[in-house]
Amino acid sequence: MDTTTLTESIENQMIRKEMLLNVGPAHPAMHGIIRIVVGLEGEVVKSTEVEIGYLHRGFEKMSETVAYNGVFPYTDRLNYVSPLINNMGFAMAVEKLIGLQVPDRCHYIRVIMSEISRVSDHLTCIGASAMELGAFTVFLYMIKAREFLWELVEMVTGARLTVSYCRVGGVKADLPAGFEEMTRRRIAEVRKVIAECDKLLTRNRIFVDRMKGTGNISQAEAVSYGITGPFLRATGVNYDVRKNCPYAVYDRLDFDVPLGTEGDNLDRYYCRMEEMEQSLRIVEQCLRDIPGGAVAVDPETGRPMQTEDLHRMAASEMVDEAKMGKIYKVSGKEAVVDPTLEGTDKKVWKRISAGEKRVSLPPKEDTYGNIEGLMNHFKLVMFGHGIRPPRGEVYFPVEGANGELGFYVVSDGSENAYRVRVRPPCFTILAALPLLLNGDQVADIIPTFGSVNMIGGELDR
């Protein structure tokens, strides 16, 4: 046997023989919790098996054991990069079940916070997938930008990541003083970072070569797999829950839905980059349009200075009057605490939650200031009490960072939800992963998987 045929036969054997390669679950590019078993022929992926469930934490079972407002901390940890969108989705699902309208200001606050979350989610996704392709600088820059946004989130909600900001029928607290100015500054900073990263990536030969033409999916396949969000829009299908089934105040806002053409990794990158800009636009419009604001309180007397708030009364005076039995002076009034007790500039509770005593918690001033507020508070927070929506079932979709995030809630009229189901957007994308990977090279697994933006909490719940 001469050498050429020998080499050929070895090569043939090497090519024909399928090699199984196990990636994950503890592989950095698998974000910790996915296991992929790929069958390789040479460098080409021939078969893919995806195993998930390594972060199954029983969200749906836990939601059945806690009160309605107690589900919010669990929803935070679904898509933990954009928790405010999950909060909003669950809150709006339960509100639909009850049939509750929340004030406009609350809607605007929720929209602002969820768009900020969407930006931070896309920043993380692009940053992480760029890092996996070697662009570490981009990762550092984008995390820096995310940090700017998280400081904003912290200013509003008091937490950086797991915020639990929404409540059924409202939000936890109003926007703090100075929020608007701070947000505008932060938006400018984030825009600067995005522009920088755009320069680093969009025309970067290495990045484009690895993203272009890999991880292709056609429109029909994407729709059949139930894929939504930026992933679907990169194929050119125009579906955005914010446009197609508008909720909150999205129908009043002006924004574009970026669409791709090819459905490959590069298009998904473009879509996400453009969506960040659109989200920032939405935030700016909301800041412009948001109705109502904090009520100014006279620092001397503790009384509100605006005439429209004549039905308010200083808590100390209320107590004095009530002690003398002058209930008629107190009834129908709302308590305002001394400005030294903080929180007086948050006296706009009526504007951020539905005025429904059976659903939303009273402001802390009322809880501490009068017995009705205290009872109201206890009736909602004490164990075995709480909100009891009527029997029924609803499905409410919102546009999560990865696509349609739907909450299906069944109530049996008790204080716990009978069943809470999340429609996880990246679950359907992961289901299509074999389709995306087969036929590509081994090295393409990384950018494709990065562009899926797999978030474990949401995928496995």
């Binding site: 919790i33 390594y54 199954h56 029983g58 836990m62 990069v81 993380t124 990762f139 990541l161």
Partner: protein, 169 residues
């Protein structure tokens, strides 16, 4: 002179401890939400590199410290144990986030109630998730512990080591 015959060994030990505590190679076993705060800690804003722990190694054989970041489910537990067994001595384990410390509020069929039921833990950093400052505090506690292990002093119980709590030796 030099205070006895053990002078050289004890000083050498102290030097080794000093070197070890400032050249931590960590293995981030990132599963869940805490990973976001881990990323924030590792990046330029909080810059874990200032504490000599800047280089994550994604191979357990090259790492000294196992950062278990995020909820461990029963499906994941054998994987974690394997990773721990693959690490070479000396090795330390940091339980990052309340899910790894106690299981957190996921008290259900799927999750492990604290990774210390599976592997030994040196430092607990509770929080859901812990803030980056808290993580850095935990890291410094770990460094203190590493130094103490090499200085021949009796070292406090493991329970005393958790971030945010001061201890004296």
């Amino acid at each position: 002179m030099f205070g006895g015959e053990n002078f050289v060994t004890s000083k050498l030990n102290a030097a080794i401890g000093w070197a070890r505590k400032y050249s931590i190679f960590q293995y981030p076993f990132v599963t869940a939400c805490c990973g976001m705060e881990y990323m924030a800690t590792a990046c330029s804003h909080y810059d874990v590199d200032r504490f000599g722990a800047g280089l994550p190694r994604f191979s357990p054989r090259q790492a000294d410290v196992l950062f278990v970041v995020g909820t461990i489910s029963h499906k994941m537990a054998p994987v974690l144990k394997t990773i721990y067994d693959q690490m070479t001595e000396p090795k330390w384990v940091v339980a990052f986030g309340v899910c790894t410390c106690t299981g957190g509020f996921y008290d259900n069929y799927a999750t492990v109630m604290g990774i210390d039921t599976i592997i030994p833990v040196d430092i607990y950093i509770p929080g859901c998730p812990p803030r980056p400052e808290y993580v850095l505090d935990g890291l410094m506690k770990l460094q203190e512990k590493i130094q103490l292990q090499h200085s021949g002093k009796p070292y406090p119980k493991a329970q005393m080591y958790h971030a945010g709590q001061s201890f004296s030796v």
